[in-house]
């Protein structure tokens, strides 16, 4: 599942909830948390439940950001949303492996063992505090159902007392930690949203920087950001062409029983083949090996 861009949609806005696929994001995250006022939490979870049960979201991953474990809404969200069959759950304010195990135990309790296995709901911890960052290795290793981790810079900066800037030096360490932890587990690292909705140049720079750091995708809070972020996190035509030639050369070498291979005078070893596989997968070509 490619997650180049994950679009957050407030779960209590029918027009957004029903039309979200129009924007073309890889994932839609129906939000029950920060974008929903307390007095509308009930309305949002019922609307999202109904939408998941009744509407089609073709070629798009459906994800729900529930409320955090510390809130009274956590259990109610799970009871209502899980039977409606989202592909994944984002757990905000994840701070330990115990949080993930608690979530999994509730999922099992609500769905039962057989349905749980069939449903195969993926978990995406949202790292947005100092404690969450310090424990990120433990968190990403706490469950085989974790397939990505998201970074949330706004809450994180608030938590550590940093001043949030567009340049982002204050979150560089955290971003790098998230990327490394995810890479160690071979799961996707999803960067924080760029919050200035009108600054397209700023978005390109921020997303490009995140891509260079090693993030696999980025969450966005504005539909206007979807195309730009998707393009930045998609391999270029040149990258795809080179990756294709690497894979073809590797396959031929394997057939011929050759050890060393080169493409464009570059020695091709296992990490380069692996990178080529990842590029083709991100380009939607699948794993050619």
């Amino acid at each position: 599942m490619r997650r180049r861009v994950m679009l957050y949609v407030p779960g209590n806005t029918p027009a957004m909830v029903q039309n979200a696929t129009v924007f073309g994001s890889d994932s839609i995250i129906f939000d029950l948390e920060d974008s929903i006022p307390l007095e509308e939490k009930d309305a949002a979870r019922i609307l999202v439940k109904n939408a998941l049960q009744s509407l089609e979201y073709p070629d798009t991953e459906t994800v729900v950001r529930i409320n955090s474990i510390q809130t009274e809404h956590f259990q109610k969200d799970l009871e209502m949303i899980l039977p409606a069959g989202p592909h994944a759950i984002v757990l905000p304010k994840t701070e330990s492996g115990a949080d993930i195990r608690e979530l999994e135990s509730r999922i099992l309790q609500i769905l039962g063992e057989d349905s749980c296995e069939k449903a195969n709901i993926e978990i995406i911890p949202l790292i947005e505090s100092a404690l969450g960052l310090i424990n990120i290795v433990e968190i990403v290793n706490s469950s085989k159902n974790i397939t990505a981790a998201q970074f949330g810079a706004e809450d994180f900066s608030e938590n550590i007392g940093a001043r949030r800037t567009k340049r982002g030096m204050e979150i560089l360490f955290a971003r790098s930690q998230v990327v490394a932890a995810c890479a160690s587990r071979m799961i996707q690292a999803i960067d924080t949203p760029f919050t200035d909705i009108d600054d397209e140049a700023g978005l390109r720079e921020d997303a490009g920087f995140a891509r260079n750091l090693g993030f696999d995708g980025k969450s966005v809070i504005s539909p206007r950001h979807v195309d730009i972020v998707q393009q930045i996190f998609s391999p270029s035509a040149d990258e795809v062409e080179f990756a294709t030639r690497v894979i073809e050369a590797f396959k031929e070498a394997e057939k011929a029983g050759k050890g060393a291979i080169s493409v464009d005078r570059m020695m091709i070893d296992a990490p380069i083949v692996k990178r080529a596989e990842n590029i083709l997968e991100k380009a939607g070509i699948g794993n050619p090996l």
């Binding site: 027009a15 009930d42 309305a43 609307l47 049960q53 509407l55």
Partner: protein
């Protein structure tokens, strides 16, 4: 569930519906509909409301629907929310 208080859910935004419910004596159901597409869809909206009330096993209710082009699933969601807010579980 029994409707014991007045409650509302939804908004007058496009693609949404504002639902206001209040208790009615006895087991009667009274429905008022106002819709931007009332002429074409009044019957359909009425049908959707009755279906929701039946699914939730509700009677003794006055329900006012101000529709702004809501899909059936949105209408059902707003009705369910309004009823949850207006109801108490029956012993």
């Amino acid at each position: 569930m029994k409707i014991i208080r007045k409650a509302a859910a939804g908004t007058l935004e496009s693609s949404d519906a504002l639902i206001i419910v209040k208790p009615l004596n006895g087991n009667d159901i009274k429905i008022e509909i106002s819709s931007i597409v009332k002429q074409q869809y009044q019957k359909k909206i009425e049908c959707a409301v009755y279906q929701s009330l039946e699914a939730l096993q509700i009677n003794g209710i006055h329900i006012k629907v101000e529709d702004r082009g809501a899909l059936d699933c949105t209408l059902a969601a707003r009705i369910e929310t309004a009823i949850e807010r207006a109801a108490a579980a029956e012993e």
